[in-house]
Symmetry: C3
Subunit: 248 residues, 3 copies
């Protein structure tokens, strides 16, 4: 596996959207591009990341090649990229290292150890969702912050004409109501009204990497996992998060 | 009690000027406006806050109504206000809740529990002050920071032509001298020279909410409480702080 | 000793470049200017600071006068300087105090206690260096951050055409290669290839005060102390740091 990215900062923002949920993961390179899919350690959330070959400056790979990394360290190294530098990433399978070369006024070569790939790539859940909400990233993140102020759990509630977020805690309750014709909603497709509760911390981590102007796709079904999808440039991030059954 | 504010951020800055000194308090609404007066838990400082009805967008109240709140939680919720949103606050006495409704591209309703009003409103101290200093908020805060660098206590010293702040500590001493004709002094009216010491932490909290360009009114008398008054927009904040008898 | 500085913020940045390495030190004033030279508490690093009389607004001194100070407190007081204020520093030997007077819209007088001058001024090491690198401050600091990400120790390696920084740690390795003709190198004079390892924390503290656009002079010799010199305005900072013998 050997690939180059024109914009190291873009690649870092992709890795950060993954590392906010999981500490390690396997990047799989094929002729189609890069792919990573992994469960978080507590097994209640999954992240799926795809970057097509067309978004890469160069991609050399024989069939299929994978590299399992400490993503926290990977993100730290990527954070050292400077403006105007190109980045080449090469898998050195013999030495079990990933080599990152930043080239600018000086040449900087980082090598990080590969981890053992302990687990097979998990399957994507197959949930027959009842509702879909298309909403601006910034609006969704702001609603989640409202809710996170008051509770560790957030209720998503959709009906034909309305998308609500709710949270209840000792310091107070909050309900955010967004009507179907609101500016921040691009679409609200509801086959069946749905209501489900999810942990705030996970929702916060999942949406942390989401650009404010990105179109976020939220798929819902009562007491079922939530699916959240958004793009970062040409990359596509998809998350699943298990519900917490509401007992009030 | 039901009132609306045009500018939720302004209302938050008022609440922050209160919460820097006390964690809970009772807002009393009458036809004249809002009023809060309370002692800090250690009983050495008092804050009095008044917002006239004219500064509110709307105020519905029968005679007199009061709501006792956790001001820390209240400030947190107010901090969620977004640009261009209006805020309506309604007291729901039946459910013992205060309801805050932010209306913008979505509608957000926060409810927070009322606390028991444990204490009667304290009386305002009646001190026959000997001196009055009118000084810019920014200048006063900067002088206090100078003093707080070196000591936990600050001495205010005024004479006919001069306003001094002093502090003495192990790491050094500081004396800030401002002459009557200085740009940062709007007035210096001294019936009798006065000198008194106050705890820095309280002075710092009291002035935290003071806008840099606000005209602060300081009333002094030797070894008596200090009275500090400043406006935030149309709101008026007044503080009293007990002296510490100087023993050097 | 009595001297004035036009720009208190410049003087603070000099003191900060010293205080990042040592907590106390003696300023010696002569007709030539100010001088401070001291070892850090662990005795593995030395800082030498010189500010010529021409860089001061005024300097009154009889032959030689010295003031030993807690530099942390000195820096804190200097940090209270405001834009447009002048600063006069006077040694009050009778009371064993240093007096700092900031004059602007108010007059602020800080007094800090002198410390006992416990030690004689150390001698400057006399190392027959084999190589000299002239590099931009910003570039050197950035390379050091790359290295500090992965290890507590940094290897400097120079050969005729190349200046390398290396670090090896559990999370990965890094090698920064700068060729002689790079924009960030002003000069590379190598009598003999040299390679030596130094603790990152010290290098970080030594370069903390270095302006990004300053020309830094690095003198090297294998397994010998490193000498790092840079100007802050008219002041000259020189540091020595003992090597750590590389055992890999």
């Amino acid at each position: 596996m050997r690939f180059s990215v024109k914009d190291a900062k873009f690649f870092k923002s992709c890795v950060d959207a993954i590392v906010s949920l999981v500490d390690e993961g396997s990047f799989v390179a094929t002729k189609e591009g890069l792919h990573l899919r992994t469960m978080d350690p507590s097994q209640i959330a999954m992240v799926d990341f795809r970057l097509p070959a067309t978004a890469l400056d160069k991609l050399d790979v024989d069939e299929k090649s994978s590299a399992t990394l400490n993503l926290v360290d990977f993100s730290k190294i990527l954070s050292r990229s400077r403006a105007g530098e190109s980045l080449e990433i090469v898998l050195d399978e013999k030495d079990a290292k990933l080599q990152l070369t930043f080239t600018g006024s000086s040449k900087r070569v980082f090598k990080m150890p590969l981890l053992d790939s302990s687990t097979a790539m998990p399957k994507e859940p197959n949930v027959p969702f009842d509702a879909q909400v298309k909403i601006q990233g910034g609006a969704l993140k702001s609603m989640l912050q409202d809710a996170g102020l008051l509770s560790s759990h957030v209720i998503f509630d959709v009906s034909e004409h309305q998308f609500n977020l709710e949270a209840k805690g000792d310091a107070g309750d909050v309900k955010t109501e967004t009507m179907k014709d609101s500016d921040s909603l691009a679409a609200l497709d509801v086959k069946k009204p749905s209501r489900s509760m999810y942990p705030f911390d996970y929702l916060n981590n999942i949406t942390k990497g989401c650009p404010d102007d990105a179109a976020v796709n939220v798929h819902l079904k009562s007491d079922a996992p939530i699916k959240i999808t958004y793009p970062i440039g040409d990359a596509q991030l998809t998350y699943y998060l298990a519900p917490r059954v509401e007992n009030e």
